[in-house]
Amino acid sequence: MANEIKYTEAFEELQQIVSDMEDGEITVDELSIKVKRAAELIKICKNKLTATEEDVNLILKELEN
């Protein structure tokens, strides 16, 4: 299910969370949940990046030959 979200959406949501935190718009009560969400989004983005990188490397390696 988490994989359904796109990298771009995930990244934007992550940025929103960070920006909200910066602006002090997150209360202590929400913090845990937000951080948990941010971690989740970071994981999603990282996974997507890794997958893409592997894809790209594979294609590029094929190109070399």
Binding site: F11, L14, Q15, V18, G24, A38, V56, L60, L63
Partner: protein, 462 residues
């Protein structure tokens, strides 16, 4: 008839006339007269007829005589100077002596002829011819004709025995280049008075067949330089100037050029020179043709060489360009591929960096937030005792104040210092109305209650 008539013999008369004339005309005179006839006798004496004409009408006439020895002398000097023999029909300047001879009658004995006068006359004729030709606008006609590229067919006007002709032909025929000429001789007299009609006649013959010829040459030679004044004749010069083919002259003399030579297309001093000129024109044709051959060979070779070189270099250029083009295309593709790879990696890296920094930010912001809250709490904890102490102290102070007040207001503490309270009927005395003498008053001190009767009442200030 009376006999006293004096009869003279003819001889007496003639002698008398002679004597008279001799007396009268002792001197010699210079006379200008036309020599109508020369009448040269085999004896060597000449008896010319001298006339003076006015509009072709003879106005004066007399016979002249030149004795043999005079004639020889005069003629020699004349030819020497004028280059012409004495010519009938010309006006001469004569030195004469009037003589009368018993048998021959009256005559002018010619002692001398001034050749310079005749020379002047000839010069005048030449000038006149020139002037006339000029005036008529034909003087340059022959010279304006186009000269044939090759003057190959030549009509020759000459005397068939003349040395000039043979010189001319020798040069033409004997040429060492195989140049071929076609010549045809038109026989004519080329000096003296007869030359004028003779040459004119031959010219007219040649004109009839002019299409067969390229040029006309008039050659003369070996006849010395006398008798050329005919070439100043107007009719002859006109015939030459207006002739439809170029007329070339080679009449062989070295003195003053005649009008005929002036109007001819070209004049050579000698027939040989004329022939050389004709050969020269052949050279001028032949040489360019020879050179054309050489030029064509060399230009053809050069053209081919130049084109071959251009072609070879273009071919090489083409090959290089094709290879270069392929190399450039390959390099472009390789560099674009490389760029693509780099960009893909850069893109991924930059995204990774963004995530990393977002992660970092999440950590730091969380910590900041928690710290901030925790600091707020600490502040509250720190401030709380002070905040609490404040109302307690306030109350303590209030209470203390009230306690002091109560103490001050307690009447017992006033009585202790010696004061007392006096009452009437249980009420404090307040004004004169409330007491009267004789009334019983009660006095309270700190430790006693006293009952007394009022004696006197006095108000303060009355």
């Amino acid at each position: 008839m009376s006999d006293n008539r004096q009869i003279f013999t003819l001889k007496q008369v003639v002698s008398s006339i002679r004597k008279t004339i001799e007396e009268r005309y002792q001197q010699a005179y210079w006379v200008k007269a036309e020599m109508h006839k020369l009448n040269l006798y085999p004896s060597g004496h000449a008896f010319p007829e001298l006339v003076q004409k006015e509009n072709d009408k003879i106005e004066a006439q007399i016979n002249g005589s030149i004795w043999n020895h005079n004639f020889q002398r005069i003629n020699k000097k004349f030819i020497e100077v004028v280059k012409e023999p004495l010519k009938e029909g010309t006006t001469l300047l004569l030195q004469v002596k009037v003589t009368f001879h018993e048998t021959f009658g009256l005559s002018l004995q010619i002692l001398d002829i001034d050749p310079n006068y005749s020379l002047g006359e000839l010069q005048r004729e030449r000038e006149e011819t020139l002037k006339r030709l000029q005036k008529e606008g034909i003087i340059n006609l022959n010279q304006r004709l186009d000269f044939p590229l090759l003057p190959q067919r030549i009509a020759i006007i000459s005397a068939d025995t003349s040395k000039g002709l043979s010189d001319f032909m020798k040069v033409l025929i004997g040429n060492g280049w195989n140049y071929t000429f076609f010549t045809m001789l038109f026989h004519g007299y080329l000096q003296g008075d007869v030359a004028v009609p003779s040459i004119i006649k031959q010219l007219s013959l040649i004109e009839k067949v002019k299409d067969h010829f390229d040029v006309v040459v008039i050659v003369r030679g070996g006849g010395g330089e006398v008798g050329l004044s005919c070439y100043n004749n107007y009719d002859l010069c006109k015939a030459i100037a207006t002739f439809p083919l170029p007329v070339l002259t080679g009449i062989g003399h070295s003195t003053n050029m005649t009008v005929a030579e002036l109007v001819a297309f070209r004049n050579a001093i000698t027939p040989t020179e004329l022939a050389d000129f004709l050969l020269q024109t052949f050279h001028e044709f032949s040489v360019p043709v020879q050179e054309a051959k050489k030029a064509i060979v060399s230009y053809s070779n050069r053209l081919l060489e130049v084109n071959k070189q251009a072609f070879t270099s273009e071919t090489k250029h083409f090959k290089n360009s094709a290879q270069l083009y392929l190399n450039i295309s390959k390099n472009k593709l390789v560099s674009t591929s490389q760029e693509f790879k780099n960009e893909a990696k850069t893109l991924l890296n930059s995204r990774r960096e963004l995530i990393k920094s977002a992660q970092k930010e999440t950590v730091s912001q969380s910590k900041r937030l928690l710290k901030l809250e925790s600091e707020k709490i600490e502040t509250v904890i720190h401030d709380l005792p002070h905040k609490i102490i404040h109302p307690i102290d306030l109350q303590k102070r209030n209470l203390f104040e009230l306690e002091n007040m109560v103490r001050l207001l307690n009447p017992l503490s006033v009585l202790k210092r010696g004061y007392s309270i006096t009452t009437v009927d249980g009420k404090t005395i307040n004004g004169a109305m409330s007491v009267k003498a004789g009334s019983i008053i009660h006095t309270k001190t700190f430790d006693l209650e006293i009952e007394s009767e009022i004696n006197k009442i006095e108000e303060y200030g009355k």
